[in-house]
């Protein structure tokens, strides 16, 4: 068990190191000098040189890399080339927003997927199962941004039940926070829920065929109780895997959904930074997203061992 955790942690650290080099390398290799880009092409050589020194771009790449990684580790990724604002606080603010969105979407996805997937498995081959399967197929096919636009058109523009976008921090106005969170979280969560439903369904179907379930029923449990007490926990192993993998797609989906709903999260920060050619900010945002995905995968790995005792000695 401990060995497994250590190995996984080692893999995590190695992946982090490699991805930091890749992210830094990519942006360093981009054509164009950030100082010149910030000042304009006809800026004097003098002012470009001054700005390069200010940004620390005149130092060797290796020094820049080490400083950048050091900065990221100590929570000080530096100042934006364009806005001159500290990047650290911006990342913290925006990450909070995106985490709320991703968390709410995940809750919605799970709330949809567990009952729907289990029902589909139990009704496997029957008409009601087919209808559910059709619905989930439809959900899988709809991209989150389209779901967002449809939700806005229906609930905000037509029915006027909920605002079409925006963001209010929960401490400022919890009611407004929930009202504004609902539609973007639904847009993300519905699609993810549809994907997840299909995994829950096949996992439960697999479990239903297992010998231990037949044994449980032979001992006198009703099919429902047998599934509840012995089946679902085993079915959760592949589901948690997918949920973990989906967190990565959720983060990416958030980039799009934040744009549609005007939510100032990581996705919007990234798009704005790209539009403004704010390379240091792009670098920081991408790295934070990479870290988030890797850490989630690491945690999912550990969760297996909790959920499936067989893996503890693996």
């Amino acid at each position: 068990m401990l060995l497994r955790v250590l190995v996984r942690a080692g893999v995590l650290l190695a992946s982090l190191a490699v991805s930091s080099v890749v992210v830094f390398g990519f942006l360093a290799a981009l054509p164009g000098d950030p100082a010149r880009v910030a000042l304009g092409v006809n800026a004097t050589e003098e002012s470009v040189a001054t700005l390069r020194t200010e940004f620390g771009l005149d130092r060797p790449l290796r020094t820049q890399y080490v400083d950048w990684v050091g900065g990221m580790l100590t929570g000080d990724p530096g100042r934006s080339y364009v806005s001159k604002a500290e990047i650290g606080p911006q990342l913290a603010d925006r990450m909070q927003v995106t985490l709320w969105l991703v968390a709410a979407a995940t809750v919605i996805a799970v709330l949809i997927a567990l009952p729907a997937g289990t029902l589909m498995a139990v009704r496997h081959g029957k008409l009601s199962g087919l209808v559910l399967a059709g619905l989930s197929q439809l959900g899988v096919a709809v991209p989150a941004f389209l779901a967002g636009i449809l939700l806005i058109t229906l609930f905000a523009v037509r029915l006027r039940w909920l605002p079409s976008g925006g963001w209010t921090p929960p401490v400022e106005d919890p009611v407004m926070f929930l009202r504004q969170l609902t539609l973007p979280a639904l847009a993300l969560g519905l699609v993810q829920g549809a994907v997840l439903t299909r995994y829950v369904r096949s996992a439960v179907i697999d479990v239903l065929r297992e010998d231990y379930l037949r044994t449980a029923r032979a001992k006198g449990l009703t099919p429902e109780r047998a599934l509840w007490r012995h089946g679902l926990r085993n079915a959760m192993v592949p589901v948690v895997t997918v949920l973990g993998l989906q967190l990565a797609t959720l983060l990416i989906g958030a980039v799009v959904v934040e744009r549609v709903f005007v939510v100032p999260g990581m996705g919007k920060l990234l798009l704005d930074a790209v539009a403004n050619r704010d390379l240091l900010l792009v670098q920081a945002v991408v790295m934070v997203l990479v870290v988030a995905v890797l850490v989630v995968n690491f945690v999912v790995d550990l969760l297996y061992t909790v959920l499936d005792p067989r893996l503890r000695h693996g």
Binding site: G40, V41, V82, V262
Partner: protein, 514 residues
């Protein structure tokens, strides 16, 4: 940083990119202020009401002395920062923080400052601040627009309320430029944190900047002039046109300052709760000819391309029929505007004849478009119309701004034709009076006329500029596809929305709710 990328030595370059980057954003910058003799401002006292405006492209910084983005003066000029002079809705230069007199030789401007203007930091506005602001443009600004102040030989405070500026040569353009961000007045003690904490004398002060979301301006209680109607104005920024439209339909915002895609207007039409305002901007959508490329050195080829294009059909197809036809590089809001659409009328037979006369019956031209909505959609129409007269057009799209700037705008200027909206006001001189510009248009006669217009009296300026506009059109220096429209949609009870976008600022001071 939009235009920071580009920075030409000429003012126009910055704005070109800035506005083009957004497609249209800058066009929403309505201008002007209370006309000296026209309608009275809505309220002397102001109300406790607030207003939310929807805009596109949030500024990355609030410091327009270091960053050329058009979104910064759009939000801050006239509202937070004031100049000595400003533009009214008719495009006339009128007093703001000062009245002025010009010496007979046109070299000395004497400004008498208003006595009771105060910066939001509490410091009074004096002639020393004005001198400081002008000299700061020359010494500390890094954006290309600073060249507008090159003509100033000296600025001196004759008294705390009198400023004397001496020019190296008479220049009508200088006083005009003083109405733009270049003429903004800063406090000597208030320039430490321009990127986040602007300090001006204007009717509004920045109270909040929620990055990625909105800028909130609150009425300046100590403002020296007439108090604006709204106590609080929120500028909310949207990346996505659908989100912007939905926000108005759901009441999240009160005004869309510029509709991003004109075909989107349909959803607002027939809605009695909303008003649609359609006016003009300074954004000439130019089909640019590269005068360095061989075929375009022949006037007959340039004329043929112009006469092959059915401009009304083009604007109907690619911009939903919204946008005025202009025929030269002057919007109708400029004093020297003339309708020049008849200089090169649509005539495909004549175009074919001109091509034959030029010996260019097998002509291939490269149309390299920036990745902007109006350019890509109108580029397709241009290509198909040119192919109708036998010109082969190779179209490609370059990512804007970086790729387009590097390949088309900067040397080696590797293109034959491109399409971009030039949104800087009064931008003939940098475009057609500078052979080093990306157009490569080299006409000594035009250069001389531009110099004469700048140095002449106001009447001479108008006459000569009319001649310039006609000359570049007759010489087919480019083809003006149409003028970008100013499309505003707002709640029906909002008044004071400017019809035409004339200057750089989105003037909030005239807005009110009826």
């Amino acid at each position: 940083m939009e235009s920071g990328l580009i920075g030409s030595t000429r003012a126009a370059a910055g704005a070109l990119v800035a506005a083009s980057l957004l497609g249209l954003a800058a066009c929403s910058a309505g201008s002007s202020t209370a006309p000296p003799d026209g309608t009275p401002p809505p309220s002397g006292e102001g109300s406790e009401e607030s207003l939310v405006l929807g805009l596109v492209a949030e500024p990355a910084t609030l410091d327009f002395t270091q960053d050329g983005g058009a979104a910064i003066p759009q939000a801050l000029l006239v509202n937070v920062y004031e100049g000595l002079v400003k533009l009214d809705q008719d495009g006339e230069i009128v007093p703001a923080l000062a009245t002025w007199q010009v010496s007979d030789d046109g070299l000395t401007y004497t400004f008498d400052l208003v006595a009771d203007a105060v910066f939001t930091s509490g410091e009074p506005f004096t002639a020393d601040d004005a001198v400081f602001s002008i000299e700061r443009v020359q010494n500390d600004w890094t954006v290309a627009l600073k060249s507008a102040m090159d003509v100033v030989a000296s600025a001196e405070a004759a008294s705390p309320t009198q400023l004397v500026v001496t020019l190296t040569n008479p220049s009508n353009n200088w006083l005009y430029n003083m109405t733009t961000r270049v003429g903004a007045m800063f406090s000597q003690s208030g320039v430490d944190d321009l990127a986040t904490a602007p300090i001006g004398t204007g009717p509004y002060a920045l109270s909040e900047w929620n990055r990625g979301d909105s800028i909130v301006l609150t009425r300046n209680a100590d403002y020296w002039g007439e108090a604006p109607y709204f106590n609080e104005v929120t500028l909310r920024y949207f990346d996505d046109p659908t989100a912007l439209n939905s926000a108005l339909l759901t009441g999240t915002i009160d005004v869309i300052t510029t509709v991003q895609a004109p075909e989107g207007l349909a959803q607002f039409e027939g809605n009695d709760d909303l008003q649609i305002i359609e006016g003009s901007t300074n954004g000439e959508v130019l089909l640019s000819f590269n005068h360095r490329s061989a075929p375009f050195q022949d006037l007959q080829v340039r004329q043929a391309v112009r006469q092959a294009i059915d401009h009304q059909a083009l604007v109907d197809t690619c911009w939903a029929g919204r946008g005025e036809l202009i025929g030269s590089h002057v919007p109708p809001t400029d004093p020297w505007y003339e309708d020049l659409t008849d200089v090169a009328p649509y005539d495909p037979d004549e175009a074919t004849r001109l091509l034959e006369a030029a010996g260019q019956t097998d002509l291939t031209l490269r149309l390299r478009l920036p990745s902007l909505p109006y350019a890509t959609s109108c580029g397709q129409v241009v290509a198909s119309q040119l192919e109708d007269v036998g010109i082969t057009v190779e179209v490609d799209t370059l990512e804007f701004p970086a790729q387009w700037l590097a390949q088309v705008f900067q040397p080696p200027n590797d293109y034959d034709m491109s399409i971009v909206a030039h949104v800087e006001p009064r931008d003939i001189p940098p475009l057609f009076g500078d052979p080093t510009y990306y157009l490569g248009y080299d006409n000594a006669e035009v250069v001389q006329m531009l110099a004469d217009a700048d140095a002449g009296t106001a009447e001479e300026q108008v006459t000569i500029m009319q001649e310039v506009a006609r000359t570049i059109s007759e010489d087919s220096a480019g083809d003006w596809l149409f003028l970008l429209p100013n499309l505003v949609v707002a709640d029906a009870d909002i008044t004071g929305l400017p019809e035409n976008a004339i200057g750089e600022a989105l003037d909030l001071t005239l807005l009110a709710r009826s």
